[in-house]
Symmetry: C2
Subunit: 753 residues, 2 copies
């Protein structure tokens, strides 16, 4: 397996490098900042984040109307453990001093750690090879590790490594970008910073308003130091190691950093110290071995083999990053930027359910389940939010949040995105269809489906026998507060229908009593769900033979995207929302995405027309857009176009095509890249009838392949120029549909293309 490697340090790309090479495991994420600190004028966000570890703040409004979200939440930059100062015989190592003779930064996607290799010549001519490794354990989630190796090349003398644990940290801000927090702020207050037992740096901190506690315990191992000192400077704890250095003799230091927070532990201090003690028993090599073992399993299920080295690297990087981003504890999900930056303030959006969840569902159903549990656990908050938004019953999920309260300060493209609740429902339905886990639906899923169906019923209304949903915003944020957004109505229709269905399925299985009593559901109510679903109004334009994005979209002023100067993209940073809303222009796939997810709501001809219509006016200003276009282009057998969109998606972070990877990676797009192959080229759909595949191969490709889990089976899918080969790797024979033809997969099936 390839790694991600750069062999040059570019201060202009420092922020990008920090994000792309961040080290995370779904619990903790550390940006890959230069250990010695950023040089003056170099963009840097020195960040360490814990999934779901947040503070709160008032949301400011110049004019505040009823029901506006009052409290914002933001992921907190926590105790900084990545700072190291390396002094080579009196000269402190820094990338902007002396000469960098060699710079390599490599992330090993199969080994779960990264390494920076630098050959540095000091201003006075002393050369040393410096190797720094970082790892966030996929097995012991609370552990982040670093190691430093210094190998003198042409001198003997003294080497010092000063390692810090810094308690006073603050969050980054960029007031000019609505996608980043506007105000720099320190959320974490140090309660206690001290060395325990002489050499264990320990910092306990508390957030100011959410009152969450974090304990960070750090200990170093260095066998060769001739001297070590530990001392505190305010809330910074310093461990200084001094070595006698000789040419080609390695100096090594490893740093064990354990973070435990009060959302996961009742006694963060003892828990952190005990995990540290236990971890400290083992050398870093041992944790690397565990990473390798863990990743073997992961890649065995998750790897997607594509054609082309560069693309394969992007794909591997994206899927690896998804694994490192996903909360797996039922109280967290996947932040829009994973744990790689503060963009979107560490909030969870629909990105998880629509873009990321399908990947986990097919490759790691247990993680998928945890992501659903997160939604189940915040259902009470969604009920409260529905009330605030004027609903007499039901649940409406917040557009952006950490704990479930609405944190969107601009509701037209925030709370108004009701579709998110349908997206959550869609994920639960897909989970059920892919796992047949009826007990999960009884205990969790049905409640989510029913409460959300209640919300839809209260939101929409009947007109001329049709059920209509007004004043919501669809996925495309360049048209806000619209009526009968096609995507939203499709999602609501599925949600309403499945609220009805799931109770009937549970009933047949004799498992419906609990949920019916608990939620006080009557047959009448169930039928009202079905009636609304059956009569859901889905806009269709007779003339263009497309599904209009919403009731008025096709009446808006046309816009020729080619006439917009290139520097005016993304449009949201250059045009007032009203101007955008007034034009037929899309930030991202909306109806196109609906055709991917709810393809049975329309016919092939309409989908083709829609795709052609919307493609011309979509800016892809959102990183969530290209992949949907790729999937639908595949569906329409235009694999060349599909491949182009897929490449667009693949380049997002590694090539920084949206120019904001510095704020963090784009996790939804990463899930989208996966889907471009699996839902796209392979045409995979999970339907009530079962697993459907309609594999196509881009002309330029020789083959692609992936494995997947479905109803307990592990299945391998390989597609080359001649045929599709399906292999049942685990589990009993199962019926599948290939090009809508039923196939019983027992062992291996080959279908000619």
């Amino acid at each position: 397996m390839k790694s991600i490697l750069i062999n040059e340090y570019n201060p202009q790309k420092n922020g990008w490098e920090e994000s792309v090479f961040h080290t995370a495991n779904g619990y903790i994420g550390v940006r890959s900042c230069q250990e010695g600190g950023a040089q003056d004028g170099v963009f840097s966000v020195r960040g360490t984040y814990i999934n779901g570890f947040y503070d709160e703040k008032d949301i400011a409004y110049g004019e505040k109307l009823y029901g506006f979200a009052e409290t914002g939440q933001t992921i907190v930059n926590v105790t900084d453990v990545q700072t190291l100062e390396i002094t080579i015989d009196g000269e402190t190592f820094s990338l902007d001093k002396g000469t960098v003779l060699e710079y390599e930064h490599e992330l090993y996607l199969d080994k779960g750690f990264q390494e920076k290799r630098i050959m540095w010549r000091s201003p006075s001519g002393k050369e040393a090879y410096i190797i720094i490794r970082r790892l966030a354990s996929l097995v012991e989630k609370h552990l982040f590790m670093m190691s430093v190796r210094v190998v003198p090349n042409n001198f003997s003398g003294e080497v010092k490594i000063k390692s810090s644990v810094i308690g006073d940290v603050s969050n980054f801000a960029d007031p000019s970008d609505p996608r980043v927090a506007a105000e720099e702020k320190s959320y974490l207050s140090v309660i206690n910073a001290e060395f325990k037992d002489g050499n264990t740096a320990f910092i306990k901190s508390k957030t100011q308003r959410s009152m969450l506690e974090l304990s960070c315990a750090v200990r170093h191992r260095s066998s060769t130091a001739k001297e070590e000192k530990h001392f505190a400077l305010g809330n910074t704890l310093l461990s200084e190691y001094t070595y006698s250095a000789s040419p080609n003799e390695s100096i090594t230091l490893s740093k064990y950093c354990v973070f435990v927070d009060s959302r996961r532990s009742e006694d963060t201090e003892n828990s952190a110290l005990s995990i540290l003690n236990e971890s400290f028993e083992h050398p870093m090599e041992c944790f690397i071995n565990k990473q390798i073992k863990y990743l073997e399993d992961f890649w065995s299920a998750a790897r997607v083999y594509v054609d082309g080295r560069k693309l394969q690297r992007s794909m591997d990087y994206c899927l690896y990053s998804l694994l490192c981003s996903a909360g797996q504890d039922g109280i967290t999900s996947v932040c829009a930027k994973g744990l790689s930056g503060e963009g979107y303030e560490g909030h969870y959006f629909w990105d998880t359910e629509i873009y990321i969840f399908p990947f986990f569902l097919l490759t790691a159903p247990e993680i998928a389940k945890q992501l659903l549990l997160y939604r189940y656990n915040i259902l009470p908050k969604a009920r409260e939010h529905a009330k605030i938004m004027g609903h007499s019953k039901g649940a409406l999920y917040a557009w952006r949040s950490i704990t479930g309260i609405e944190c969107s300060a601009y509701y037209p493209s925030g709370s108004a995105q009701y579709h998110l609740t349908g997206d959550v429902a869609h994920a639960f339905i897909q989970y059920y269809l892919a796992t047949e886990d009826l007990d999960f639906m009884r205990d969790y899923g049905a409640e989510v489906l029913i409460e959300s169906a209640r919300m839809w019923l209260d939101t929409g209304h009947y007109m001329n026998g049709e059920f209509r949903i007004d004043s919501v915003t669809g996925p495309d944020e360049y048209s806000c507060i619209v009526n009968n957004n096609y995507y939203t109505n499709c999602a609501a229709k599925e949600n309403l229908l499945w609220a009805y269905k799931i109770v009937n399925i549970l009933k047949k299985a004799g498992k419906d009593e609990d949920i019916k009593t608990r939620l006080n559901i009557s047959e009448k109510e169930l039928h009202s769900f079905k009636k609304a679903a059956d009569n859901m109004y889905l806009p269709y334009d007779e003339e263009l033979k497309i599904n209009p994005q919403d009731d008025s979209f096709l009446n808006k002023k046309p816009l020729n995207l080619k006439e917009i100067p290139k520097e005016n993209f993304p449009l949201l940073l250059h045009y007032h929302p009203l101007w955008l809303y007034r034009h037929q222009v899309l930030k991202q796939a909306d109806t196109v995405l609906a055709h991917c997810l709810f393809e049975d709501s329309s016919d092939r001809e309409t989908i083709k027309n829609s795709f052609e219509y919307y493609e011309k006016i979509t800016t892809h200003d959102s990183s969530l857009s290209a992949c949907a276009h790729s999937i639908l282009a595949s569906y329409l057998n235009d694999t060349e176009k599909a491949l182009n969109y897929m490449l667009m998606s693949a380049q997002t972070d590694l090539e920084d095509t949206h120019k904001n990877t510095k704020d963090g990676i784009h996790t939804a797009n990463m899930g989208g890249l996966y889907q471009s192959v699996v839902q796209g080229f392979a045409g995979l759909r999970i339907k009530e009838s079962g697993l459907h595949l309609s594999p196509r191969l881009p002309k330029k490709w020789d083959e692609y392949a992936f494995n997947l889990y479905f109803k307990g089976r592990k299945i391998s899918v390989k597609v080359n120029k001649k045929r599709v080969t399906l292999t049942l790797l685990e589990g009993d024979a199962i019926n599948l549909y290939v090009f809508d033809e039923k196939i019983k997969l027992k062992d291996k099936e080959k279908i000619n293309l």
Copy 2:
């Protein structure tokens, strides 16, 4: 003429009393606070305001998108001169101590001052009669005066009056009400506070960001004091007068307060001192006489005689308040709350042009002209605003502002209200039609009409030959960001048509060269205005035979207002905007108002149907609503209903029906009350063909009458049960239309009803 009188002090109504009895003259406004200060727990806004004297502040957003208004402006609470402490033989007068034996507060609408008469018995039993007068000179706009008279009733002893000029003042805030500023703040910093020449209190202050300067000079006259002392306590300047008091012997003190600001004067200090010196030459009586004289002229043109004492008092109060609120210097207009409070932060809205301007146009055209000049003078700001909003050319007036920059922090019911620009155009057109002042149109009006027409042309677009305007908000703020709002499209149509017309009228008069060169107008562009006007799409529903408020309004969920609990009104304080937008519910007249202003855009039958349809779903949560319903009910000959709506309008401030008069009076509604009679019962319309009247008399009334100016004539209109009597009071004979029949008015015409 009746005065406004209350004869009881009610601490619960203190805020209301402060607003209703405020003293203003269009330049300065002083709330009628208790001179000795508000008692604990009593709502009070101790405010003094100067029209257009503002400071700036950043507008806060949790999520700020491109083009959002960045800088807020707020009218500034200025130097407090109304504070007086009266001590009766050692006991300080206060309404919550001793016994208030008599309390009368009276505002003389024909004399232009107010008087408070209090008989007070001190805790130890000493009784004194205290009379305090206040006046804001209508002739010397910079002068505010107070006088105190103390008449001991049952004691001899010492009386002290301590009069203050307080430099440290701050603005009021109510974070729970979006209609009031959210943050209490002191905008004015004292630069200099001292006594000049021993007894002239002088305070010079500066606003923090707008860097405006204010000089306030105060001197007292007291002939009978046995001792006077002047001293400063920080930024408070105190003048203490001591008197020997005997029963029934008056003690008097008068206080001359002059305010001069740097928006009107280059040398505020010398200007204030010189105006003070000049004013001080004359006793208060002299200024009262000038008020009386001024008001004689005013009332001669402006008074509307209605039926019923209470209603007459309301009408008189409203028209008097309008006079006292209107800026007449071309750099100011009429604040939504006049100069009586800080509600809506002293901003000017469309209220002026649509609700207030018609009153001045018909009764004081010179003031009307000044209000238009304000709009002309801020045209450069409107051009900038248009650019920010994405328009390649033209001018778009800010929704709320003092100097013309957009200050609305919630654009869906702020900047999105494009109709305001059409409203401004409407006022210019009405002015031209009522005055034939073509030079004014050449110098000012045409430019406004053309620049606004350019904006409309850039905003809308053609579809199937119709010109459509999307993504704007009409007057009704319970439906935001809609397409083809009927009101807006009517206003834009008129605006576009008149941009074309006025150039042609100027051309005929040989006055078009300057404007055509200055604005670079081609014949082609002029025809593009006309074409858009001629093809303006005005929504019409075939089934209901009404004009829908916008394209989607009739598809929204119906709402039965009767089912909403009473305590949930106004709805905006109890429902999220999305919930409101999702229902067929109106904050205020929208299409109904369009039918009043642009009656020729629809036929009578449609107007009737519309009125009936919208009336049922209008909450009148806005004080701008009732009067439009009154006017249209009159138009539809339902004078009983018209009268009811008129009474609703009449009660607004005097009965505090919106429960927020404490934040200031409702000036738009006051203009609306005038229109309920003149445009309503009398059916007055100013059209291209001339002045139209269609007088009706409510059944309960015996008669009503008013005068008006039209094309230089002064005309009296009297309507009783039998006939309409029109009398030409000044000027040459003129053609008018009564019930659409042309009449040549030479002297007096009587038309039987």
